[in-house]
Structure formats: structure tokens, C-alpha cells
């Protein structure tokens, strides 16, 4: 029973990590403009993030240290500092975006403006971090996050012409009226939103916090193999409902409320309520993950004590970083800066950083001195190297595409 429990736990956290504000926004926009013509990107992202989550999970099991903590002794303090600053800035921006996402979900439910909900959401996040143990916290938003499955139900309920759906998914060129630039820009956005490095850091830090050991290898792998594809399925379902409801009518997604609209069209009020709950849980979980992942990054780089297992006073610098980041994100969200703009900017910057954060993990995973019999096999290396090769191209193209297409403006 406890095995089953631990299994659902990790799997749920994998879904929670995959579907966040960046995903919800990007998938809905992509579905409305390109139908399922970018669904292949999600397939690639799922394979890539599975590979690196598994690798960093394996490193954590073997060494009882998260992957990035080893990067500094491996690649030197300068490289690791660059990775730290970069991922802290990007993940920090995401904290703000996720927090705004929680507030927007509450606005959807109550019709009270989201800016009024931002402080409430921040207090709620603080209370959960302060009061709940790691495992309960993961379980809470993981189970609530299953509400996102309503998007999959909505696809069926909308009764699409399956041959046109398949046709869209297998056509790998921009839709009529869309440029290649915008198409490629959204490839970058989807990769940035779906292969977010914080998922990898959170997964490996979580494995350390849950005190997983090499004997838990199978369990860890089951989590990866079930969790991330489920997240990918949800992502494609969001693209599909946006395609079915918005694309034909030429509606563009400019507000997060629109991402729940197709579910309302398909399933009525009850469906809408479940979708709002799902969005709330996904963004809430992602707020916790991005916040803690940023704290882990800093603490591990400097060798501080960290983590949620011990009393906050025993990890006072870690706790202070997390609290300050939450405060800063709340302040940033309250400046009325558009959450969707921030989200898109954050995921594009995240895409730029990808290779720099993946390479150290691949290097440590291959080090037989550290990893022994748990070192990377051929499959890990093949998928990992391919992912890095693609991410290098994505990284180089991301900023030029952002500027040239004016963030994919239609």
C-alpha cells in the first residue's frame, strides 16, 4: 500500500511539474493558431524531459545529492554560477507568472479582479510551505491537478472529426495566414514551457528530500514513465480543445480565462468548474515548485543547509531566500504587468538556458566513478545527446525569433 502511495505521489508531482502556467498559456495559443500542427513538439519535449528527469533522479538516488549540486564540483564555480544566476532569474519570473495564474483562476471562479487575489494567493502559498510536510504538499496539488483531465474529456465531448484532427497533427507546416517565423517561435515557446529545468531540479531535490535510495530505482522510473507522458497528454488535449473551439472561428487567446472556455463549451458549468480547479491546482503546485526549486538552487550552490524536512530555523538562509522571492514575485505581480507577457518571456529565456543546464547532468550521469553501475546506458545517452543537440539550436534561435516575430505577433 505504501508503495502504491509513494508511486502515485511522484507521478502526480510529475504532472504538476509539467502542466503549469507556461504550458496552459502556450498550448491554448498554439491550438488556436496552429491547431495540432505543433503537437509533435510536445512529443519531443516529453521524451527530453523524461530522459533528464530520470537521469537527475538516478543521480540523486546514487549520490543522495541533486544533480546540479554536483555540477559545481564538476564544471567549476564560474560555470555553475552562470547556470545559477540564469535559472534563478528565469524561475523567479515563473514564480510571479504562476502566482498570477493562481490569482487568475480565482478570478475565473469569483469574478473578482485577479490583482486582489494575488496577495491572497501569496499568503496561501506561504501557509502551505510553512505548515505542510513535503509529501502532503505534493499529494495535495497532485490530486487536485488531476482535474486537468477534464480537458481530455472535453476533446471527446466536442465530437471532432477525427480525420481532420489527425490531419492537423501530421501536417508539419504553418497554417494558412501564419508565417514560418511565428511557427518556429511557438516551437521555441512550447519547448521552453514543457522542458522547464526546474522540473528536473525539483524532481531530483524531491528525491533527495524523500530519502530515495538506489533500491527505489524502479519506483522513480515508473514515476517518470507515467507522470510526464500524462502531462504531455494534457498539454496536447489543451491544444486540441483550443483548435476545435477557437481555430475555425479565428479567435486568438489573449487572456487566461479563454483557456477554460473550450471546456465550458464542451461540458457546461460543471466542466468549467473542474477546469478552473485544475488550473488553480496546476499553477498553485507550480508556484510551490518554482519557489522551492529556486531556493534549492541557491542553497546547493553555496553549500547551505536547505530543504523542507527540517525546521525552517535549521535552514534559515534557504528559508530567507524563499520568503524574499515570494515577496518579490508578489510585488512584481502587483505592478499590473501582464502575466501572459511575463510567462512567454520567461519560457523563451528558459529555452535559451536549456543546454547549459542539461549538459552538466549528462556529464555527471556518465561519470562511472560517481555513478558506478547506475551510470547512463545507451538509451539515456542517445536521447540525452539528441535533446541537447536540439536544445542548442533552440537556444540560439530563441532570442532572434522573439525579436524578429515580435513574440509571435500574428
Amino acid at each position: 500500500m505504501s508503495k502504491l502511495f509513494a508511486f502515485t505521489l511522484g507521478t502526480l508531482s510529475a504532472i504538476g511539474g509539467f502542466i503549469d502556467i507556461g504550458d496552459i498559456v502556450a498550448d491554448a495559443q498554439v491550438g488556436a493558431r496552429f491547431g495540432l500542427r505543433l503537437a509533435w513538439v510536445t512529443l519531443f519535449s516529453v521524451a527530453g524531459i523524461m530522459c533528464f528527469a530520470e537521469m537527475s533522479g538516478r543521480i540523486a538516488l546514487k549520490t543522495q545529492r541533486p544533480a546540479l549540486a554536483l555540477a559545481r564540483s564538476r564544471l567549476g564555480p564560474r560555470y555553475a554560477l552562470f547556470g545559477l544566476v540564469g535559472s534563478f532569474l528565469v524561475t523567479g519570473l515563473l514564480v510571479m507568472a504562476e502566482l498570477a495564474g493562481v490569482a487568475l483562476a480565482l478570478e475565473l471562479a469569483t469574478s473578482v479582479h485577479y490583482l486582489l487575489w494575488v496577495p491572497v494567493a501569496a499568503v496561501l502559498v506561504l501557509a502551505v510551505i510553512w505548515l505542510l510536510p513535503f509529501a502532503v504538499m505534493e499529494r495535495l496539488y497532485g490530486i487536485l491537478g488531476l482535474a486537468m483531465l477534464v480537458y481530455v474529456v472535453a476533446v471527446w465531448q466536442l465530437g471532432p472529426d477525427w480525420s481532420s484532427v489527425l490531419d492537423s497533427a501530421t501536417t508539419l507546416v504553418p497554417t494558412a495566414g501564419e508565417s514560418w517565423g511565428a511557427y518556429l517561435f511557438f516551437v521555441v515557446v512550447l519547448i521552453g514551457a514543457q522542458m522547464t529545468p526546474y522540473e528536473m531540479f525539483f524532481f531530483s531535490s524531491g528525491a533527495v528530500e524523500s530519502r530515495w535510495r538506489p533500491k527505489d530505482l524502479v519506483e522513480m522510473r515508473v514515476n517518470v514513465v507515467v507522470g510526464f507522458p500524462l502531462g504531455g497528454l494534457l498539454a496536447v488535449a489543451i491544444q486540441a480543445v483550443a483548435f476545435l473551439v477557437f481555430f475555425e472561428r479565428g479567435i486568438h487567446v489573449e487572456h487566461i480565462s479563454q483557456t477554460a472556455l473550450p471546456v465550458a463549451v464542451a461540458l457546461g458549468k460543471v466542466g468549467l468548474a473542474i477546469a478552473i480547479l485544475g488550473i488553480f491546482a496546476a499553477t498553485f503546485g507550480a508556484t510551490l515548485e518554482t519557489l522551492l526549486a529556486s531556493g534549492y538552487d541557491v542553497a546547493q550552490y553555496f553549500g547551505w543547509s536547505y530543504g523542507k524536512l527540517q525546521p525552517p530555523v535549521r535552514a534559515s538562509r534557504f528559508t530567507t531566500v524563499v520568503l524574499l522571492l515570494l515577496l518579490g514575485s508578489t510585488a512584481l505581480a502587483l505592478t499590473t504587468v501582464d502575466p501572459i507577457t511575463v510567462t512567454i518571456l520567461a519560457v523563451v529565456c528558459s529555452a535559451v538556458l536549456l543546454p547549459f543546464l542539461f549538459i552538466p547532468v549528462l556529464l555527471v550521469g556518465n561519470d562511472r566513478e560517481v555513478m558506478g553501475d547506475l551510470a547512463n546506458g545507451r538509451l539515456s545517452n542517445a536521447v540525452g545527446t539528441t535533446t541537447i543537440a536540439v536544445s542548442v539550436v533552440v537556444s540560439l534561435a530563441a532570442l532572434p525569433l522573439l525579436v524578429l516575430t515580435r513574440a509571435g505577433a500574428a
Binding site: 545529492r65 559545481r72 554560477l81 510536510p133 553549500g303 523542507k308 524536512l309 530555523v313 528559508t319 530567507t320
Partner: protein
């Protein structure tokens, strides 16, 4: 066991833990003992962002060292030092024979924050498991 350890791979930047395996910091720099112009051993392990900043150099390094020095309660001069005689193990962590509480100079900011900020919040001393 070999008595030779690569400084770059076996010592620098490694995690330091205390007797109870609690994180102390990283090996941010080393001070070498020099006699007649020859290196004869390690004089001190330097830990903390000040030591790291001074080692990195450049604008970022200076900024890091400067802010770390200013954030250090008590304002001791120079980076925090750990006596290498306390080291009992190098793998997988640099383990010390002392407990963190017995090293008053180390992790000053951690203690200051624990005492003056985090410790004052309700429930800060409660374990979460």
C-alpha cells in the same frame, strides 16, 4: 588508499558537512602552507561567499565577496577559515570531526538569520515530518 588528492577534483568546491552530516558550506578556496617558497600543505579551508568571490575575481567576484563581507555578522576580516585538522573524510563529502555549533566563525549569516529573522516566526522550530 592513495595519499594524493587532486585539489581540483577531490577538494575544491566540494560540500563540507559536520559530524552529524549537516551542511556546513563548500570548499570555496584553500590557503596553502608555504615554507621556503615550496608548498608543504593546506593551511586552512576557506568557506563562504567571500572566499568564493575573491577566488572568482572580476566584477562579479568582487561584488559577491563585498556583499558577503558586509552581510557577515560581527564583521570578521578575511574569509571564514576551517582548520584542515578537523577533516576526517574526503568522499563523498568533506566531513569534519566537529559539529557546526563548535565552529563559531562558520555560517555566521545562517545563525544571524536563524536568531533574528526566521527564528522569530511562529512555528519556525517545528519539523515538518
Amino acid at each position: 588508499m592513495s595519499r594524493h588528492v587532486s585539489v581540483r577534483h577531490g577538494l575544491l568546491d566540494k560540500q563540507i558537512v559536520d559530524r552529524d552530516r549537516l551542511p556546513v558550506g563548500r570548499v570555496d578556496d584553500l590557503e596553502l602552507a608555504v615554507e621556503d617558497g615550496a608548498v608543504v600543505g593546506v593551511e586552512a579551508i576557506l568557506t563562504g561567499a567571500q572566499a568564493l568571490g575573491e577566488r572568482l575575481g572580476g566584477m562579479l567576484g568582487r561584488w559577491l565577496a563585498g556583499s558577503a563581507a558586509r552581510l557577515r555578522p560581527g564583521g570578521g576580516e578575511g574569509p571564514t577559515r576551517i582548520d584542515p585538522a578537523l577533516v576526517v573524510e574526503l568522499e563523498p563529502f568533506v566531513s569534519l570531526s566537529a559539529r557546526l555549533e563548535e565552529l563559531p566563525d562558520v555560517a555566521g549569516l545562517e545563525r544571524w538569520l536563524a536568531r533574528n529573522v526566521v527564528g522569530r516566526l511562529p512555528g519556525a522550530g517545528d519539523a515538518r515530518e
